[in-house]
């Protein structure tokens, strides 16, 4: 049998489902950094990011047998990560005293408040987006997932995904109350 590191994600998933723990380890090794990065961006603390990453993988492995492979495993996993972070934040927000205790380890003192405030604003704004906009924006802008890949996972045309991302960003700008740029180009529709 080939080394786990030489196998594709799909092959590893098959091997994982038939009981190979090495495949489980390799899948996590490959994808945990991206999920952790997403979770850290959303939660702002290493401890919470670890918890949210854990929730993501537990959910993914519980649903692994349902994965239809119409998109890449990493794309499917990332979408689970977005939802896991959202659920994690919803639970945590019931206890707003918890959460930012580790920010001081990741930013200079002057940046801490600004970063925390920005994150809270962005997370709130993302939560306020329609789900299909939020998912597309997070997958593409935070996850770097190509339009075509998101379209495959969502079962929507690529043009629809592009439109969701564009509209989602503009709506996000409104929600973030970013100073509006007033210039209007002649071909604006």
């Amino acid at each position: 049998m080939r080394e786990a590191s030489d196998r594709s994600d799909d092959l590893l998933l098959d091997d994982f489902l038939t009981g190979e723990q090495e495949a489980f380890d390799e899948l996590m090794r490959r994808h945990e950094a991206r999920i952790f990065a997403l979770a850290f961006r959303m939660t702002g603390s290493r401890a919470d990011a670890l918890d949210a990453t854990q929730d993501t993988f537990v959910a993914a492995f519980r649903q692994a047998h349902k994965f239809r492979k119409d998109a890449a495993f990493g794309t499917w996993l990332f979408r689970i990560g977005i939802n896991a972070c959202k659920d994690f934040l919803r639970k945590r927000n019931r206890h707003p005293w918890e959460g930012d205790e580790q920010l001081e380890h990741t930013a200079a003192p002057g940046d801490v408040e600004r970063t925390a405030s920005l994150r809270v604003d962005i997370v709130r704004a993302l939560e306020a987006l329609p789900e299909e906009y939020r998912e597309a924006v997070c997958m593409h802008d935070l996850g770097g997932i190509p339009y075509e890949e998101i379209a495959r996972l969502s079962g929507a045309p690529v043009g629809t995904i592009k439109s969701r991302i564009s509209r989602g960003r503009r709506r996000l700008a409104e929600l973030l109350e970013l100073p509006a740029a007033t210039t209007t180009s002649k071909d604006e529709t």
């Binding site: 190979e20 996590m28 918890e98 930013a107 962005i122 593409h140 960003r169």
Partner: protein, 346 residues
């Protein structure tokens, strides 16, 4: 060369533009468009805000532990579904542990009787393991042990409680863990609301456990619980019991049934003792050696709930630096349990 770009084209290139991944010419075209298009500029600003959020990567240690935690979080039945329920080197020991737990169910019943007999007044209650009806199994035990319901003054567990158990070092504004202690009735008696468990086969409370430093903690009257509080119990509560600094996976394997019985024996009623043994045994059957560190009953989502916290590690030699907190609504071990896991605060 510098043909105007439409909004859709710009939108598609904005991320690469923001990350500096476009060629000079491409970037120039985007910049030119943005200078004259308010809608695309707004889109770009929103994207910039998203990308300003700092991203971190897990350390190698976090990564390793994360994998172990995910594996541990999958129920044995789920691991079987996904094929990870292979025989483990711990299976034989677990089988022994479960057998011992069944036996200790009898012990716990006797311990409870002894607790009631002692009245919690002068700490002199002693039960001899001869024959007694047990609440759990209703059978008769003759296993040749004795229980001493007296905690010695030198017991470091008691010292820990006296000093710091009232409130865990939670973040400012955190809810209390509401660890209640009943008034002590005598200088030599500290069998209060928080207790270290009593039964443990032939071991007595006067004997050292492990290296003699710690014992499991049963908390009476945990009050209203929440998901977050359960995580706090694991993260901040377990250090109060000093498990993390003291025990290794080998200790966990050796002592887990002893500690489980101690927790069961400290419960307020035989029914609760039974539930602790039953639910706790299910957790001991998991593929990693875990040490039952803390148990309590409280109300979670308006349901009376059994909560048990376990210390464990994925490192070969410990220390036990991670927690699992399980919660069973109504103490029903067959019900889907709640689960929290993470690192114990140091």
């Amino acid at each position: 060369m510098n043909e105007p770009m439409d909004h859709a084209e710009i939108s598609e290139q904005l991320r690469a533009f923001a990350l500096g991944e476009l060629s000079h010419d491409q970037a120039l075209r985007v910049r030119t468009h943005l200078a004259g298009c308010g809608a695309c500029t707004n889109e770009y600003r929103a994207l910039e805000s998203l990308l300003q959020l700092p991203a971190e990567e897990p350390t190698e240690l976090e990564s390793r532990r994360l994998r172990a935690q995910v594996l541990a979080a999958l129920e044995p039945s789920e691991q079987a579904v996904v094929g990870l329920g292979k025989p483990s080197p711990f299976r034989a020991r677990i089988a022994q542990a479960l057998g011992a737990a069944a036996l200790l169910a009898l012990v716990a019943g006797i311990g409870y009787v002894a607790t009631n007999l002692s009245g919690g007044s002068d700490g002199g209650g002693v039960a001899e393991g001869g024959a007694a009806d047990t609440a759990g199994g209703g059978g008769v035990a003759d296993i040749g042990f004795e229980l001493h319901f007296r905690r010695p003054q030198s017991d470091p567990f008691g010292t820990t409680l006296d000093q710091s158990v009232e409130e865990p070092p939670a973040p400012e504004g955190a809810e209390d863990l509401t660890v209640e202690q009943q008034p002590k009735e005598g200088a030599d008696n500290d069998q209060g609301s928080v207790s270290g468990g009593g039964a443990g086969g032939a071991r007595t409370l006067d004997e050292p456990v492990g290296d003699g430093q710690v014992r499991p903690l049963y908390v009476r009257g945990a009050g209203i619980l929440s998901d977050r509080k359960l995580a706090l119990v694991g993260r901040y509560g377990l250090p109060l019991v000093l498990f993390p600094q003291t025990y290794t996976p080998a200790d966990a394997t050796d002592l887990q049934t002893d500690f489980l019985a101690r927790l069961a024996n400290a419960a307020e009623t035989p029914e609760r003792s039974d539930r602790i043994l039953e639910c706790g045994s299910a957790v001991l059957a998991r593929p990693h050696p875990v040490l039952p560190a803390l148990a309590t009953y409280g109300r979670l989502d308006n349901e009376p709930t059994l909560v048990m916290a376990f210390a464990w590690t994925d490192a070969p030699d410990g220390p036990l630096d991670q927690f699992m907190v399980w919660s069973w609504p109504r103490g029903d071990c067959a019900a889907a349990p709640g689960y929290r896991a993470g690192f114990i605060n140091r």
